[in-house]
């Protein structure tokens, strides 16, 4: 249509790159989620909380749940990956982290296109999401 890539029926290069990374990360996360859930539900890997007992806890508030089950907040689950239920957190974390990776990947693409403002937006977004993922932003809970 015109020389402006944003005035084309086709998606821009950075949009295609972003979509490709998002798609791969999402599919990998989904596959891991399915695999780990099967391992958990079928009891192939022993869970921290037996599946038959989980219904005793899901009606508690998060504070009561953490206290009763002695589960800790933050990235504590990484040390518990030997248990089937915590293994599911790998897929969940990947789905939560893929967007950060997408923004990091498009920064050089945008920079190369002399789109420095959007490269800065991407960097800022990656920082904000990483900060949220870090667990440094706590709250009182209840």
């Amino acid at each position: 249509m015109t020389g402006d890539p944003h005035k084309s029926l086709q998606a821009s290069h950075e949009q295609i790159v972003y979509a490709a990374v998002l798609e791969k990360g999402m599919l990998l996360g989904l596959a891991l989620l399915l695999l780990t859930f099967v391992l958990y539900v079928l009891g192939i890997i022993k869970p921290y909380i037996p599946v038959s007992e989980i219904s005793q806890y899901w009606s508690l508030s998060v504070g009561e749940y953490l206290h009763t089950t002695r589960i800790h907040q933050g990235w504590w689950w990484v040390g518990m990956l030997g248990y089937g239920d915590f293994l599911n957190f790998i897929g969940i974390a990947l789905l939560g982290g893929v967007t950060i990776f997408c923004f990091l990947v498009v920064i050089p693409v945008l920079w190369k296109n002399n789109d420095k403002l959007y490269a800065l937006f991407s960097l800022l977004e990656a920082v904000i999401l990483s900060l949220a993922a870090s667990g440094m932003l706590g709250s009182g809970g209840h």
Binding site: Y18, I54, I92, A132, S139
Partner: protein, 298 residues
């Protein structure tokens, strides 16, 4: 949406809001499910979640909503889970539905990365704040506020008109500088639509409130994204719906991490919900491409 459809949505929302407000006295336990949970086998609830969230996934793409806005009131009202876990799962549901739909929408050039990025920067920052406030407030307060919000969303859906291709006489300065414009082909008619936006700073300001509510209630925020992008900022309806859906993959990521780090994730609730919503979203994206704009729910 037809008048009958709108009345149906109103009735459903009223029922859910009343359920949520009434459930306040039970300190977060699902009212309908409170008695059933003792006798029902544990696997019944994850199985039901899978079916319900699949249907939500299809509907959510067509409405440009994340699924969380359907998930949180329905699951907290009819399932025996505490609101803390429902909100955590709701955000992950909205996030996963958006992740599943995002690549397809970006490749089809229906979702606009240039439109989404500045908006996402604001919404995701304030979603973190909303999540922190929501987790610090007592459950009863959040539950009442959620019930009121659902009613507000219902009113918004009833009174807000949609505009297939809004009239934008002139792009404003901010959107011109940011080069937020594009072209897309309406698949149902073959028409090529050249779009631009206006009232950008007013729209960005509204995304502060949208981000806070998304984080606080675990609702996703598509119900608010679409009217702001379409009616206020003037993006075509399909671009608004698709960009809103993609936007949720960013906004809800920030809030979902807060809930995840606070311990509000039980895999037995989250995983069946995510698988259901993602499978439904794959189907929904294919339907959105061929759907006439008038069939889009919001």
């Amino acid at each position: 949406m037809t008048r009958t459809g709108k009345m149906g949505v109103l009735c459903l929302a009223l029922l859910l809001s009343v359920t949520l407000l009434a459930g306040n006295g039970l300190a977060g336990e699902g009212v309908m499910a409170a008695d059933a949970t003792s006798s029902a086998p544990w696997w019944m609830w994850p199985l039901l979640l899978l079916v319900v969230t699949f249907v939500m996934g299809v509907a959510a793409v067509l409405g440009g909503v994340g699924g969380g806005v359907l998930f949180v009131p329905i699951i907290s009202g009819f399932f025996p889970f505490h609101l803390d876990f429902v909100r955590g799962a709701g955000l992950l549901v909205a996030l996963s539905g958006a992740l599943a739909a995002g690549p397809g929408l970006l490749k089809m050039n229906l979702a606009s990365l240039r439109l989404a990025m500045p908006v996402a920067l604001i919404a995701s920052s304030f979603a973190i704040l909303g999540a922190m406030v929501g987790l610090a407030l007592p459950t009863q307060v959040v539950q009442i506020a959620l019930g009121v919000t659902i009613l507000g969303i219902c009113v918004l859906m009833l009174i807000a008109k949609k505009s297939t291709v809004p009239d934008v006489p002139k792009a404003d300065t901010i959107s011109s500088v940011l080069r937020i414009y594009g072209v897309y082909q309406e698949a149902s008619t073959g028409e090529i639509i050249d779009w631009k936006i206006h009232r950008t700073w007013q729209g960005l300001l509204l995304f502060v409130a949208i981000g806070i509510m998304a984080g606080m209630f675990g609702l996703g925020a598509g119900w608010a994204n679409v009217p702001v992008l379409n009616l206020l900022m003037g993006a075509p309806l399909k671009i608004s719906v698709a960009t809103s859906k993609f936007l949720l993959s960013i906004t809800d990521t920030s809030a979902a991490w807060i809930y995840l780090n606070q311990g509000c994730v039980i895999p037995m609730i989250v995983v069946p919900s995510l698988i259901g919503i993602m499978a439904g979203s794959f189907v929904g994206v294919r339907l959105l491409k061929v759907a006439k704009p008038g069939l889009v729910l919001i």
